[in-house]
Symmetry: C2
Subunit: 665 residues, 2 copies
């Protein structure tokens, strides 16, 4: 048996706060930490969930193995009678995209949100017991972001009381839906509704695509997988599919009719249920994406931080140890802001979850007033956090130097599996433009409509435009009031700047298109303000127990804000809010803060409470025993089964022996 | 036979310049274009070089197939008696990392550069005929950037006139060298020289690691592959290796002795050949990396540009076609600066090649005076161009939306195979710090040493510090003199700013470490200035024939400069060189320039003259026939061989039929 040595033990001794208390802050509550921990270990200790061999498997084998895991997990869930919370954690820790993601995150919510009571009664029990497996067939080969541009048609045939679903063109092929390629038996298909030769926009329809008996595609349906995606394992465990309909008939009652109906007689009726309800679903999905971003970023940061403490390079004196790379300012300047971002996004996600609960209650009471603001800020935070996380994972890979490029570092696969989050559920740039549109509207309404929520600061527009920053020392940059005001002023001034430029255009739409890049920058400034504000508000809560916990988080909050301030100092200076001198003082303070993060860095990533199994990274091992394990892993690679690789005799020896002319190539 | 339709035909009609003439500018000369074109087609038309199936192959199969390609190519080279230039293009177009990269780029140059005449006479003919295959065993498990920290030892044994090569620790294992894992028979190993119990720094030694007869590792050598790397195919065609020495003996004359010698008697002698010669090799390797960066970026940009013209989304009026995504300013603002960067890096690379020839001549004449400046600017441009290219590829993937995530887009593999360039041959941040060190030194020497070459502008330091920008209209931002001055002033002021801050530290080394992040920013500003200047100088040459060619390049040059100016406007404003108003005028001009790039975008990427084979991307097809080919490719995927995938009956049907308890999981 191996002796257990903690190579990061010295680092852990440096920690100035109570790690166990910080774990609770990260988890949200003691109970949540306990459940999470239990589920993490359940997965980690079960060999069925082994995942390190994924990148070596061929596609078919990889997929089959993934199906096995899903079945096994489903059995576990039922056998252990796991709660909804436990199931959520279980799925997170299994850490593998699969068709059930679509079942629970798209198919079931779509029926719940867009189905009539009758439809819910019929389909939900089937779905919940997995007697049907559903996909979400929206995206087409030629159409993604623009849902109204979808080409698939659903034509009502009053003769038979059916809809005829059809793919009229190649580009109307459904393309990308997860679980559709090989597994799903049913799905929601989005199609242009045609009744009496009239188009009525895009609607959702429940359809069956495969036989429940033998899983073969039903008549009129051509379906398959769209092929390999980025990465070795990554999203290749998912059967993203292609599907064409050839006049497939479904009963009229399989149109999701909560919002609009088609009657037996072929009459199209809009119900009085407001269309905004759809935004409610979007808000729900996107807030989950924000929560997931913080977790994913925390994994990458945990790996890079631990390895940066293990890795030493340069600076040895008299043959002693070299310097830990985590001690270099260049490393800190790339790593610590990402560490701070992981915490910042965590708290932003926590707040969004509350916001979603709040808006759900309002919607139930027919109060739609907050929806546009909630929708804008959820969209913006989805865009901001996924973009930062995707870039952050790759930055963490680079921070691990050459070894980060090995699959065994875990980072290449984490990147490959994560990046779709920047595209699905609202492409990030498109989302920022939506935020910008909302902000411009908010400004133009300022005279007669009081802004609220995340736009409340715009109510103080005159002051934000007039009063420049008063900072005179670098210490002042630790003051949350000063930080918040700086971010408010920057965002407000950038949005107003855009509005001024927009007013020069006769056609507002044309102006919006022309200034799109600047509008995206302004929207980003607004979203960064939200994250900064929510971090500050979190720290103003009373209930943050544990020695040094609040203080350590305060440092991270300042790092997050001042790093952004430095990175975007062009905005702060161009709007005239800061002087160059004040920007420089902020940068000095930032450097100073890095020194305060340094001793706590390992403690701060330990607080994520990630198991080695979940991290899936030799570089990020809890015990820091990196080099022996890298070495060991190399020899376990099947490519090293023999000293002389296949192909050497056929294709290398003839070159060496100058006998290439006789070789069979 | 398929009808040939050019879906981008309308785009090509818009082009306002002579594409054939631009191809010559890109290639460097008409002759170079011809050779390049011939080699590109030779590879594209030979089924042995087929590469689209790479991502589907298991590692062993992938590797074997790669060995076959190398042998076949070597046969071609000899049979067709290809010139050195032709061979270079052939290798580029084969587009697959392999052990011969090390043979020609590292092993042979190391012997040429560091070997004595005797050693060159003995080893070079063997290497050139591939009777030995060499690797370059420098990096160790625990040591990368810090070459002086390597742990492998080479102890001289005067009794036998041999060196004993040994790996004293686990972390001293050689780790990463390409070609070492499975193929190389020989190598240059870098080890700490010990003579009479005295250390004499790190030196290179020629050693044999495998039998020339049966390819088995020689006694005392443990060697293997380090395992899977990022991506499906990517660098997995290369056998990056791990190697340990257990007291392996080599004859004394296998130490590379051009610079230092060990005599039979065990005397260590430094020759009078200056150590700087080693920088000459570095300059050579790094200028090739810059040239390669422009080509790689051009491939990604070509794919994203063509697809952006094919893809349409939103904005359809009255059921007509939607808007081409290339018409969106947000798309242009991300794509066109990368297009401009590809050209900018091309010309910077061209100039670096000249610089290398120049410095080689000087070195031959024992003139070492320009070496530090040349070394700094080559290092800086390596760092700048590889970082931009790596990020640029991923940006291009995102610009292709969801479809960019498919392996068939070519972009995931291009990214995975390219990113190591940011780490090897000088880690990018470490290189920028070296540039910064050189710049700080240049400033401190200003009183008595006239700066020259890329630092000549610092000779006008007083003017650069005092005179602020005078721009009053956005038109002035098209003036190359004004652009150059802005970049000079920004760089000069940032470096001087760092120097001032440094002077506050008692210990200069400590100051340098503390300010490292800011120094990197200043070095980047200097490097961007070089690229801008070289682009401007290129356009001042007389010989740019062809209708509209110079004009189109002028637009790109301005896009490159003004995009950087906007992106880094914080620098320009913080140094007080620009006012917010002037920065805004530059941004207006940038938007205006995008409209000028737009009609020429397809022509500008056609001018790279990339074959469809070389691009390896369905999205980047010359004919724009994207959707039918994506659809076709999906059905060719072996995963679609059967409608019902392996695993469905075992692991999905039992769930659907609620019989999971009977299933074998």
């Amino acid at each position: 048996m191996e002796a257990v040595v903690d190579y990061l033990c010295d680092e852990r001794k440096k920690t100035q706060f109570d790690v166990e208390a910080m774990k609770i802050v990260w988890a949200g509550s003691r109970e949540s930490l306990q459940v999470s921990d239990r589920m993490a270990n359940l997965v980690a200790n079960d060999p069925v969930f082994e995942k390190s061999s994924r990148p070596m498997l061929g596609r078919k084998e990889l997929f089959k193995n993934s199906l096995r895991k899903v079945a096994y997990a489903w059995k576990l869930i039922n056998d252990l009678n796991l709660s909804e919370e436990e199931v959520t954690f279980l799925r997170q820790y299994i850490d593998e995209p699969s068709y059930t993601d679509l079942q629970w995150n798209m198919f079931v919510p779509a029926i719940e949100g867009q189905g009539t009571e009758e439809q819910i009664d019929k389909w939900l029990p089937l779905a919940k017991k997995m007697q049907v497996i559903g996909c979400y067939a929206q995206t087409e080969l030629g159409h993604g972001s623009n849902v109204q541009g979808l080409e698939t048609t659903a034509t009502f045939d009053p003769q038979t009381d059916e809809f005829v679903i059809h793919s009229p063109t190649l580009t109307s092929s459904k393309w990308w839906p997860g679980g559709m390629g090989k597994v799903a038996t049913h799905g929601i298909v989005y199609a242009r509704l045609i009744v009496n030769d009239q188009f009525h926009g895009v609607h959702g329809f429940i359809f069956q695509l495969r036989s429940l008996e033998d899983h073969s595609p039903l008549p009129g349906i051509t379906v398959g997988d769209i092929g390999l995606k980025f990465g070795n394992g990554a999203y290749n465990t998912m059967d993203n599919g292609v599907l064409r309909f050839n006049h497939v008939r479904i009963p009229r009652n399989q149109m999701l009719m909560r919002v609009s109906q088609v009657t037996k007689e072929g009459k199209y009726i809009q119900s009085d249920v407001p269309r905004q309800l759809i935004y409610g679903t979007m808000v729900s999905v996107r807030q989950k994406i924000v929560a997931d971003a913080s977790i994913t970023l925390s994994r990458a940061v945990c790996i890079a931080t631990r390895y940066s403490a293990v890795r030493r390079q340069f600076g040895s004196r008299n043959g002693g140890l070299e310097i830990q790379v985590i001690d270099y300012k260049t490393q800190q300047n790339r790593l610590f802001p990402l560490l701070a971002s992981a915490y910042a996004f965590r708290f932003a996600g926590e707040w969004l979850k509350w916001l979603y609960t709040d808006v759900k209650e309002r919607l139930a009471a027919n109060d739609f007033s907050t929806l546009p603001e909630v929708h804008a800020c959820t969209s913006g935070l989805k865009s901001l956090t996924t973009a930062t996380t995707a870039e952050g994972i790759d930055e963490c890979r680079k921070l691990c130097g050459g070894h980060g490029y090995l699959v065994s570092s875990g980072l290449p696969e984490l990147f490959a599996v994560y990046v779709p989050a920047c595209t699905y559920e609202g492409e990030n740039v498109v989302l920022m433009l939506q935020v910008a549109k909302f902000l411009v509207k908010t400004v133009s309404n300022l005279g007669y409509k009081q802004p609220f929520g995340t736009t409340a600061y715009m109510g103080r527009m005159a002051a934000l435009m007039e009063n420049d920053c008063s900072v005179a020392t670098s210490e002042e940059w630790l003051n949350p009031v000063i930080i918040a005001k700086a971010f408010e002023s920057r965002a407000a001034r950038m949005i107003v700047g855009c509005c001024k430029e927009l007013s020069a255009f006769e056609n507002p739409e044309e102006g919006f298109a022309e200034l799109a890049a600047d509008l995206v920058e302004a929207a980003l400034a607004h979203c960064q303000l939200i994250v900064v504000t929510k971090f500050i508000e979190k720290l103003q809560q009373d209930d943050i127990p544990g020695k040094g916990v609040r203080e350590s988080l305060q440092v991270l909050c300042n790092v997050y804000a001042l790093f952004l301030l430095h990175k975007h100092q062009g905005d702060f200076l161009a709007t005239g809010y800061l002087t160059p001198k004040q920007a420089l003082l902020a940068n000095h303070q930032l450097r100073n803060l890095y020194s305060k993060v340094r001793p706590n860095a390992i403690g701060l990533v330990d607080s994520f409470n990630h198991t080695d199994y979940y991290l899936g990274s030799i570089l990020g091992r809890y015990d820091g025993n990196v080099y022996p394990k890298l070495y060991e892993a190399a020899w376990k690679d099947p490519f090293n089964d023999s000293d002389v690789a296949d192909g050497i005799h056929e294709y290398v020896q003839p070159i060496l022996k100058q006998k290439l002319h006789f070789a069979k190539l």
